[in-house]
Symmetry: C2
Subunit: 346 residues, 2 copies
């Protein structure tokens, strides 16, 4: 029998005393953290520069408690930020975590969130070096993460460097998170939820669970960012708003056309769990426009796409000079009709 303790029923210092040790002692002994949490600010060692980015998740907008656990939310908010660091070509070096929560929030949920943040931080080798805790209006829970990265002496990889003649490549999946969201929205139960262990499930059920899991707590291919930068990637972006929208951002920033190969994309990204679960038509729409995937899209000079088993890149097209229509992205010769996300529009 569990007793529900709210965070408002314990003092701030008690709450911090529960949370801070969960981020571990050992990371702060590693190179990179000169001053760990507990002072006015943290201090990280750097090369000649530091990559900085921030991204937040809000309950009811970016997650639903009936779909995602606190642990899921913690993993996802770290993943989003680490993907942005990786998309500059940097390795993650540290995180700040800011939580604003209704005092009625269940303490166990906050502990679970903390565990998810700590697990993802450890996976990314990016210690949590500080943060902030504040109370919020009834019903509101917001988790904001700031991530830091080190370019290890490389130049940052911008969105604006794609050049005609480059090839276009993706690291990671396409459409999994969007497919998982579509499954949740259609009321599909997770075949491996609620204590089932998956041992007797068929491939459809396993693929369904995989997509739903990826939507809740994605694991972006962040190792591929520094690898791409080391191979001389000319442009790179984190796919947070869908391939078409984010690829269009590279096209616009670089003043080029991204000419994507429909059959290569279908073969590499539609075939598999997305097509198995959603079918070809709905699956293809997710490949093109599903959000929150956090895979990486990059361009490379011909012949320089990295061949690294830890961080594989798949070529899906080429960069061409912008035509009379101006910078754009085409798939199979046409501008896709689908688009991506807008955080304020419906």
């Amino acid at each position: 029998m569990s007793v529900h303790t709210t965070i408002g029923s314990v003092s701030e210092s008690e709450l911090l005393a529960r949370i801070i040790p969960m981020f571990g002692e050992s990371p702060f002994a590693s190179v990179g953290v000169l001053v760990p949490p507990g002072d006015d600010a943290a201090v990280l060692t750097t090369g000649g520069s530091v990559v900085v980015t921030t991204d937040s998740m809000v309950r009811g907008r970016d997650w639903r408690d009936d779909w995602s656990s606190g642990h899921d939310v913690g993993v996802k908010v770290v993943a989003q930020n680490v993907a942005d660091v990786a998309a500059m070509g940097a390795v993650p070096t540290g995180l700040l975590v800011s939580v604003a929560a209704d005092p009625e929030t269940d303490l166990d949920w906050v502990i679970d969130l903390t565990r998810g943040i700590a697990d993802a931080a450890e996976d990314a080798a990016a210690p949590v070096v500080g943060g902030d805790l504040s109370s919020a209006p009834a019903g509101t829970v917001l988790v904001a993460v700031t991530a830091f990265g080190d370019l290890e002496g490389r130049a940052p990889v911008l969105r604006s460097g794609a050049r005609p003649g480059d090839v276009v490549a993706v690291s990671g999946s396409l459409g999994w998170s969007g497919a998982g969201l579509a499954l949740y929205e259609s009321g599909t139960p997770d075949p491996i939820g609620h204590g089932a262990d998956g041992a007797h499930l068929g491939s459809l059920e396993l693929a369904t669970s995989l997509l739903m899991w990826f939507h809740r707590s994605p694991r972006p291919p962040w190792e591929a960012g520094p690898v791409a930068a080391g191979a001389g990637a000319t442009s790179m972006i984190d796919l947070s708003d869908g391939l078409v929208r984010d690829g269009g951002r590279i096209a616009t920033a670089s003043g080029v056309e991204l000419v994507l190969d429909e059959s290569a994309m279908r073969e590499h990204f539609l075939t598999g769990p997305v097509e198995l679960v959603l079918g070809g038509d709905a699956g293809w729409r997710q490949v093109l426009s599903g959000g929150e995937e956090h895979s990486l899209l990059a361009t490379f000079a011909p012949g320089s796409v990295p061949d690294d088993a830890r961080a594989p890149w798949t070529v899906i097209g080429v960069v061409a000079q912008a035509g009379p229509e101006g910078p754009r992205l085409t798939v199979g010769g046409a501008v896709p009709s689908v688009t991506g996300w807008d955080h304020f529009a419906g």
Copy 2:
């Protein structure tokens, strides 16, 4: 006649197109910002380390719209973060801003907030290099800032370095923000609000308005942090939770007793607007425990308190060995009965 446009009625890209230019172009051309807003992450040049901190403000908890304007909130959230950077002995070098807001939030309020952030960022010479915008549940507005700082080759000044024989000093005011809050809570109208220009006001009205202004939009003495570090400060802290509570943190972290001189404190910090407006008893309580002042408390070896007109420091006590009672802070030989803030307790 003004038409109220909500942020939810314009697209995210339109909103960003309004906001981003307010942070100016010129700061990004300055040394320190290699990659400005608009890519996956920003890149700042650094020395061998970077100071990082984050602090948030939530509507209804950290400000009230009937007391504070959007501009006030923007100034205050930047000030809080810059004070934390200064308290490590660093100069601010950049900011990330994250806003989560109910789509029904008035666009003009967000523009006013942005202007406040931009003004304080310019004052601190810390450009806004990126951020995040998300929608939040009805009624919620949250502004989170992450600040970066450069130690310019100095060691960070921690809370744990105070040594017996050091002197204790303050830069900035004490009790002004707490006094201003007490005035708001008592329903006192701001004598210079609502179009009055203050030209015909007496000293009581001017002092009242000054304290209320300082509560809404403090201007911490952030230049004093690097000056103190350069003079060899042995410990330092940002006074966000009141002198007694934050001074106690230095005592605990350093394992010492801070022995504060009541008459020096009354002379330098009670005399003036706080005593004039609140009287001696209530004013003294604010000097001891008023929160959100963001002045700096530091310890120095005897004879090394900096003498710098830009960033004056006032000696208020000495550091002694901890007695049988353990690390603590005393004022006039006694432990003050007042304490500071707890963000979750009432």
